[in-house]
Symmetry: C2
Subunit: 104 residues, 2 copies
Amino acid sequence: MEQDDIFKALADPTRRRIFDKLSAGAMNASALRDGIAISQPAMSQHLSVLRGAGLVREERQGRYVNYEVNPDGLAEIALWLGKYRAYWPARIDALRALLKEMDQ
Amino acid sequence: MEQDDIFKALADPTRRRIFDKLSAGAMNASALRDGIAISQPAMSQHLSVLRGAGLVREERQGRYVNYEVNPDGLAEIALWLGKYRAYWPARIDALRALLKEMDQ
DNA sequence: CAATCACATAAGTATATGCTTATGTGATTC
DNA sequence: GAATCACATAAGCATATACTTATGTGATTG
C-alpha cells in the first residue's frame, strides 16, 4: 500500500467508478458489476488492483466475496494532500466546509 | 482539468517528485531538472502533463518558463476525497490536525 | 457427488505511456 | 544578425496496462 499503487489504482476511471460504488456500501463482485459494462474477469482484476493499493478490502462470505472501502487508502491520499496545505487557502472553501461537518 | 487527467498525472512517480519539488517554490524547467535524473525533453513532457491536469501553471519569463503549483488541481483532489468523508474518521487524526492549522 | 455458482488466474492482444534522439522555436547575447 | 540558450515538439521504441477468452478453484446445491 504505497502512494504509487494508490495513484496508479485511481488513475483508471473504471476503478474510480467501482470505488465510488463501493463507497455507498459493502458489496460483492457480482453486485458491483451491474450498472457497469464490464466482464467478470475485468472486475476481478480491478478489485485486485484496488485491494493491492489498500483502497479496498475483501472478506469471503460463503461463495461470495464481500468488498468494502478501506479507509487506510483514503487516509494515505489525505496525508499526501496535507503536504501541500500551503496551497490550499486559495480555493479550499468547499473542503473547509466539509471539514467543519466532520467535527460534528 | 478533469479528475481523470489529475489522477493519471499523479500516477507517475517522477511527476509526483517534480510536483513536490515545485511545491517548495516556483522554478523554471532547468532548475527542476537538477537532482532528478531526467532528460530535458522528458521534463518538458512531464510538465506538459502536469499543466494539462491543472496541477501546475507556467509563465514565460524571457527565455525561461517559470512553473508553479496550481492550487486548482489540489482543490480538485480535495473535493474528490471529500466525497468519501464518511470513511475518514477511522484514521484521519493527522488530517484533522492539519485542518485546525488551516483555520488559523 | 455431480452440477453449478462466484470468483480468481492464465495467456494473449491492442492501446497507452514514458523514454530516447533529433529537430523546431522564441528569446537573449556577443 | 549569427550563435547560443531554454524549452517544446516530433517520431520511434520498449514496457505497462486494460481488456479479451479460456480455464482453474473453492463453496453451495440438488
